[in-house]
């Protein structure tokens, strides 16, 4: 018999996200848990080291709100739109203060999570040759295969203090099922000391057991389960709601001007008590425009072997 880990976003962040933590909110374009980022901003966390392959608008918001002192990443942009201006201000002009960075390529970041999840001291990959990235980041180290001398590059493990991932559905003990783009959520969760799973829907354990191939993250690595529908806006949840491209485009103008950004945070984060209020404030018409439509897979037979 397992005990329920279901809690509120407020309590999960209060209990599990601490000042100075190294944290990852993963999800590659898909399933980015903006609601968790907003709660971290509301609770005034400071001095975080934020890790993500693509910082995306969620880290532009969090870094614009002053929660972080360091960023670990591999592609720094507003996907499909352009720049992340709050982060760029800190990197180009130290405005309002400097931001330390540790930069990799996508495959390098993925391999860091794999090493972290596997508790390995490093992971080798065939990248970085003749690139200036190892000069910019001395933690990317050239080495030779002990077997045939082939040169490769090594990256160090990434073990976040806390990882937050979003899933379409999870049970009360944190067994989380994901479909659509998988990113590196599984690796980031297995690599972390503490894990928060946020989900669109809470389901019974029997639902998970009927489709175990779809379980990305098992409850044994999960500390808290938060049921927060539509928590990924303006990102998306496959089969639940679409990516809000208009929001991503509009963010460019918001983030360019620090006073506009501050006003946005006031209206959409500090001025709201919870993500439920954000969902309501966004309005039915906007949500209707983001409806996912339907494309069902066929059922499969797992067989009964009693």
């Amino acid at each position: 018999m397992t005990t329920s880990k279901v809690t509120s976003m407020h309590d999960a962040v209060a209990d599990l996200v601490r000042d100075g933590d190294t944290m990852a909110i993963e999800g590659f374009t898909h399933l980015i848990c903006f609601a968790a980022g907003h709660e971290i901003i509301r609770q005034g966390r400071r001095d975080l080291t934020l890790c993500r392959m693509t910082p995306d608008v969620i880290y532009d918001q969090m870094i614009g709100a002053g929660v972080a002192s360091k960023l670990v990443f591999s592609w720094l942009g507003n996907p499909g739109v352009g720049s992340l201006h709050a982060i760029r201000r800190r990197l180009e002009r130290a405005d309002p203060e400097p931001l330390e960075i540790e930069e990799y390529s996508h495959f390098g970041m993925v391999c860091r999570y794999v090493a972290g999840a596997s508790r390995l001291p490093f992971f080798p990959l065939r990248s970085y040759f003749e690139s200036d990235l190892p000069k910019a980041n001395p933690r990317i180290v050239r080495m030779e295969s002990p077997y045939d001398g082939e040169p490769v590059y090594a990256v160090p493990p990434l073990n976040p203090d806390v990882t937050i991932v979003h899933a379409q559905r999870a049970d009360a003990s944190g067994n989380a099922q994901i479909w659509g783009l998988l990113g590196c959520q599984k690796e980031a969760a297995f690599a972390a000391s503490r894990v928060i799973v946020v989900c669109e829907e809470l389901v019974g354990e029997a639902v998970v057991r009927r489709d175990p191939n779809r379980t990305a993250i098992p409850g044994i690595v999960v500390d808290a389960v938060v049921v927060e529908p539509r928590a990924c806006h303006p990102s998306y949840a496959q089969g639940y709601y679409d990516r809000d491209n208009t929001f991503y485009r509009d963010w460019d103008a918001v983030a360019r001007d620090p006073s506009v950004l501050e006003a946005w945070l006031g209206e959409w984060v500090y001025g709201l008590a919870s993500h439920a209020e954000y969902v309501e404030k966004l309005g039915a018409e906007r949500w209707a425009s983001l409806a996912a439509g339907e494309a069902w897979s066929d059922p499969v037979n797992y067989g009964e072997y009693a």
């Binding site: 590659f28 374009t29 898909h30 392959m53 693509t54 990443f73 591999s74 592609w75 720094l76 942009g77 996907p79 499909g80 739109v81 720049s83 982060i87 760029r88 990197l91 180009e92 930069e103 990799y104 390529s105 996508h106 495959f107 993925v110 391999c111 999570y113 794999v114 990959l125 065939r126 990248s127 970085y128 040759f129 003749e130 690139s131 200036d132 990235l133 910019a136 082939e150 479909w179 659509g180 783009l181 998988l182 990113g183 590196c184 599984k186 690796e187 998306y236 496959q238 679409d242 990516r243 491209n245 991503y248 996912a292 494309a295």
Partner: protein, 255 residues
């Protein structure tokens, strides 16, 4: 360039059409964000219907029903052949040599096809902070060949790039474990190849209305010119229709 402006298509449209045509006969293509995304989707509708689109977000055999604004759009998943973890995508597909063409964009490129997408100015104190590598560094090394699509000017075609994000032909031979490196660069002015011996970029064709003088004016070094330099055939009505009606409005801008 006034002659080009009077044409019924923009230099960017010509660039995308010329890029799509480069994919004729190719099978498995790693698609990058922005113009490469439009070019690959156009190729699948024209010269290369069997092209398998691979997106670094972890999708193989994608058949996007709308032009994805980002490279992680949900339309990439629905109807695709396979969704993988990003580790599997980069390790088993790309690093294992299963990608025929990697399609990259660039902010700066040099004569050997080395690419900068990291910083303008010093790394520690950048004048402009660009997005960085994403998957580009490992694509440049591991894809069997690389196409680069980018706007051309003296600011982007430079003698020395500020930061080597993704290696091109370097100044010598690439190791055997790597792919062949950049084989085509497509801009708003023309299409470029690379000399087999020296690895140096070489003008292969000029887009209609563009002169050699225009190219020299927009290149930060003395550009080599192929002996048989041709004129790029202009976009067909069908290519323009597909790009504007199916891949244009509502999707990524072709401007």
């Amino acid at each position: 360039m006034s002659a080009a402006e009077e044409r019924p298509y923009t230099p960017t449209e010509m660039m995308i059409v010329a890029s799509a045509r480069q994919l004729a006969g190719e099978r498995i293509c790693f698609v990058g964000v922005g113009p490469p995304n439009i070019a690959c989707n156009l190729a699948k509708r024209t010269v290369s219907p069997d092209l398998e689109l691979v997106y670094e977000a972890g999708v193989f055999g994608s058949v996007p029903a709308r032009l994805p604004l980002s490279i992680g759009d949900p339309t990439l998943v629905t109807g695709s052949l396979q969704v993988t973890s990003m580790f599997e995508l980069f390790a088993y597909y790309l690093q294992a040599g299963r990608i025929d063409v990697g399609f990259l964009g660039a902010s700066q490129i040099d004569r050997f096809g080395n690419i900068n997408t990291t910083t303008i100015g010093e790394y520690a104190h950048p004048t402009v902070r660009l997005p960085g590598s994403g998957g580009a560094c490992e694509i440049a090394i591991n894809a069997r060949k690389v196409f680069v699509i980018m706007p051309q000017s003296k600011r982007s075609f430079v003698e020395r790039i500020d930061f080597v994000t993704s290696p091109g032909h370097l100044t010598g031979k690439r190791p055997a474990a790597w792919g062949a490196g950049p084989s085509a660069v497509i801009t708003g002015l023309g299409v470029y190849g690379f000399d087999d011996e020296t690895g140096e970029m070489e003008l292969a064709s000029l887009h209609p209305g563009v002169t050699l003088g225009d190219v020299r004016e927009a290149t930060g070094w003395e550009m080599r010119v192929a002996g048989d330099v041709r004129e790029t055939p202009p976009p067909s009505d069908e290519e323009l229709r597909l790009m504007r009606e199916e891949l244009g409005p509502g999707g990524a801008s072709t401007r």
